[in-house]
């Protein structure tokens, strides 16, 4: 198999698997139990929390809430902060996000609008897939309680100007303080795709909440975290025990948390080297594709500075992305169309739509996301087949072009 879908998921690194192993059958205690193996589990859990906090540049381990993945993290953070703000102010609150967020954010915001009566704004993006901080600044209202912006887009790799947005939000917080506006303002960032490539130091960057999931950087699936800056108010969503200081009920998934934190450590150590390697692979892929195939467009930001290193999404004009993917699958080459909709829904992606592409061209999108499993020769192998596939498909459906 040749695997070009690292943005969907990655294999667990051997070191990570090894770190997890003792906590399944041997050191299996429940961190809430008072006896020895319970206490041991608790201490390993807190050690992991401390390590995660250090890697992220958090002030205190208390700021880390372990979850089942980024979908839960974003749900918990956004819903939790909106609820808390509505409760505190006793009035309708506003949530501001972009039109290109992952569905775990978009659908959470839509849900808040529907069942919670929240005001919502979905910021549009440029043709390159970038949100404009000026637009965001204008869209902030006195009752804006949550602003959620992803750091790197999963479908076409645009890196959003998080630092700039964070500054704008800081200024807004100061303005509110001066003018006595009571609505708290929380800045949430979905950093799922960017973590392995772009260091975020929360010491320097005023982000209030951050979502991560382990399986995008060689950790296990089903575990993630939500960073919550001290003093940020949010209501817990999952009720039950007092785990995670009452912020997320449910017995902690100790082996997976250990695995995630190990994966975070490795990613943090290897970040620069890894970024460099993947950037060179992706550049090579883009070069080959654009040189050897006619009428193809790399979507997203043009400058490498504004792109995630591992994602290259192409629009092959006049063909359906789905057909390209199935043809590649027949050669045991894995790629994706950007959003993982397995039952073959051809609903064009909300991301390409927001970037201003029409439905027809959006159907031609194919995403290649590179990572540890790739060698340079994988790209050569892909390119032995891809031009032929595109030619064949174009010859078969001339009308669609």
């Amino acid at each position: 198999m040749i695997y070009f879908d690292h943005a969907a998921t990655t294999p667990i690194a051997p070191k990570v698997l090894k770190a997890m192993e003792p906590y399944f059958s041997e050191k299996f205690g429940n961190p809430s139990s008072i006896y020895r193996i319970g206490r041991e589990a608790k201490s390993i859990l807190e050690e992991a929390r401390k390590t995660a906090a250090d890697i992220l540049g958090a002030e205190s381990p208390m700021e880390i809430v372990f979850t089942s993945g980024a979908t839960e993290s974003s749900n918990l953070g956004i819903k939790g902060a909106m609820e808390a703000a509505a409760f505190e102010t006793g009035s309708r609150v506003h949530v501001l996000t972009t039109a290109i967020e992952h569905h775990s954010v978009l659908d959470t915001v839509k849900h808040l609008e529907k069942s919670f009566g929240a005001e919502t704004t979905f910021l549009s993006v440029t043709r390159e897939g970038l949100a404009d901080p000026k637009d965001l600044s204008k869209a902030i209202k006195d009752n804006t309680a949550v602003i959620s912006v992803m750091s790197g887009n999963n479908e076409m790799g645009a890196l959003q100007p998080i630092e700039e947005i964070a500054q704008i939000i800081e200024l807004e917080k100061e303005r509110r303080k001066k003018q006595g506006i009571e609505t708290p303002l929380v800045f949430h960032v979905d950093a799922v795709q960017s973590f392995a490539f772009k260091k975020i130091s929360l010491k320097d960057l005023p982000i209030d909440m951050l979502s991560l999931t382990a399986h995008k950087f060689y950790g296990p699936k089903g575990v993630g975290l939500l960073y919550v800056r001290q003093g940020t108010k949010f209501n817990s969503q999952q009720k039950g025990g007092a785990q995670e200081k009452g912020r997320r009920a449910g017995t902690e998934n100790v082996p997976y948390i250990v695995g995630m934190v190990k994966a975070m450590q490795i990613a943090d150590e290897k970040r620069d080297k890894y970024s460099k390697k993947i950037t060179s692979f992706t550049n090579y892929l883009v070069e080959k594709v654009t040189a050897e195939i006619q009428n193809v467009e790399l979507i997203g930001p043009k400058s490498n500075q504004s792109r995630l290193p591992h994602i290259a999404t192409f629009l092959f004009k006049g063909v359906e992305g789905e057909s390209v993917l199935l043809n590649l699958d027949m050669l045991d080459i894995a790629a994706s169309s950007g959003s993982a909709c397995t039952s073959g829904s051809l609903e064009p992606s909300h991301v390409t739509k927001a970037m201003g592409y029409d439905d027809l061209s959006a159907h031609g999108a194919v995403r290649f996301s590179l990572g540890e499993l790739n060698k340079k020769s994988d790209i050569d192998k892909l390119m032995e087949n891809l031009p032929g596939i595109i030619d064949k498909l174009r010859a078969m459906s001339p009308v669609k072009g």
């Binding site: 027949m330 829904s345 051809l346 064949k392 459906s397």
Partner: protein, 357 residues
């Protein structure tokens, strides 16, 4: 050579796939299921719907060790099948969506799609046979005369037939079930699908009601006298006895539906029978028209027997209008149903009944 098997998750297409794997080998066969409409109820709109039939097809492919792909044909299905189904009801007809689905979707957009995937043949579990002589293709009835599905396939062209293989055409249904059991396919005991596939809740009338406005009107006899009222003509089909009121001197039936006047016309048994009909959208499988008049047999609904018939072409500016006349009067000639023409086992073609004449 790559072979695509269109799989519905039912026993027939599953056995067809098993037979193809036997014939061509695992490496050359793949399964494909078209997602035709959104099955989700109460789930969020346009979600990735999971469907039992797709899961069944996938499970069968797993068992057979071949890949399975889901392709999306929702848009095409809506345009070519559902919309014309609704429009036919609007015109007071009783349509058969399966015919358009076969001609335009299964052997239309789905065939195009599998060709894109490199397939040189599309295989389905239909009970029908194809015979090739010197590059010319004939469509023949399935050996199992009860299950024969050529009635739904008369719209196929020479080009389409050249890509199709029907492995079940030479088998009886009972044999197919036996083969399914031999292969250990869990769909072996699955029930036959019935009714209109995209009407997943309630009746066809309930479905149509959601799509078009239905208004009450009069029931009249063949002299044009008002004898009752109806709640909407879409609730009626030719030959129906229900919903027409009572107290008549003899058994009465719906003999015509007039959508323009919004009237249901009822008549007695004699008035329900006719010896002649007009049909439109005529298709001839050999690719060219026969000599007129054409003597053959015909089926005017799926479950009817063949009757002797003579067909001629009607001069019309709209083209493809034909007239068929029968030796014996036929019960309930129904606009929207198809007339399919045969000579012995060979399917000659057919068309859509416009009206009794």
């Amino acid at each position: 050579m790559k072979i695509a098997v269109a799989m519905s998750g039912g026993v027939d297409s599953s056995v067809a796939a098993a037979l193809m794997v036997e014939k061509y080998g695992q490496d050359d066969v793949f399964g494909v299921t078209a997602k035709l409409f959104c099955y989700s109820k109460g789930v969020k709109e346009k979600a990735c719907c999971s469907l039992e039939a797709i899961d069944d097809a996938r499970a069968v492919c797993n068992k057979l060790g071949i890949p399975h792909y889901v392709i999306n044909a929702e848009k095409e299905f809506r345009l070519s099948v559902i919309n014309s189904f609704i429009s036919a009801y609007q015109h007071g007809q009783t349509p058969i969506p399966c015919i358009a689905c076969n001609t335009l979707i299964k052997f239309g957009s789905m065939l195009d799609k599998v060709k894109e995937l490199g397939a040189e043949k599309l295989v389905t579990g239909h009970y029908a046979r194809i015979k090739e002589t010197n590059g010319k293709f004939q469509l023949l009835r399935g050996i199992d005369t009860v299950k024969d599905q050529t009635y739904f396939l008369y719209g196929l062209s020479q080009k389409q037939l050249s890509y199709i293989e029907f492995p079940l055409g030479g088998l009886e249904k009972s044999e197919v079930r036996k083969i399914a059991k031999q292969y250990g396919l869990r769909v072996a005991e699955k029930k036959e699908s019935q009714g209109v596939c995209f009407v997943t809740e309630g009746t066809v009338a309930d479905f149509i009601k959601k799509e078009i406005t239905v208004s009450p009107g009069n029931i009249v006899n063949t002299k044009g006298e008002i004898v009752g009222h109806h709640e909407g003509y879409i609730f009626y089909t030719i030959g129906q006895r229900k919903r027409i009121g009572g107290g008549y001197r003899e058994p009465m039936f719906v003999v015509a539906i007039d959508p323009l006047k919004n009237e249901i016309v009822i008549g007695n048994k004699d008035e329900l029978y006719g010896k002649k009909l007009k049909y439109i959208a005529g298709h001839f499988i050999p690719g060219k028209e026969p000599r007129w008049p054409l003597k053959c047999t015909a089926k005017i609904r799926y479950n009817s027997d063949d009757v002797d018939c003579e067909v001629t072409k009607i001069k019309s500016e709209y083209g493809k209008h034909y007239s068929a006349s029968f030796n014996k009067p036929q019960r309930a000639i129904t606009p929207g149903q198809s007339i399919v023409l045969y000579q012995e086992d060979i399917v000659l073609g057919g068309g859509i009944i416009e009206k009794a004449d």
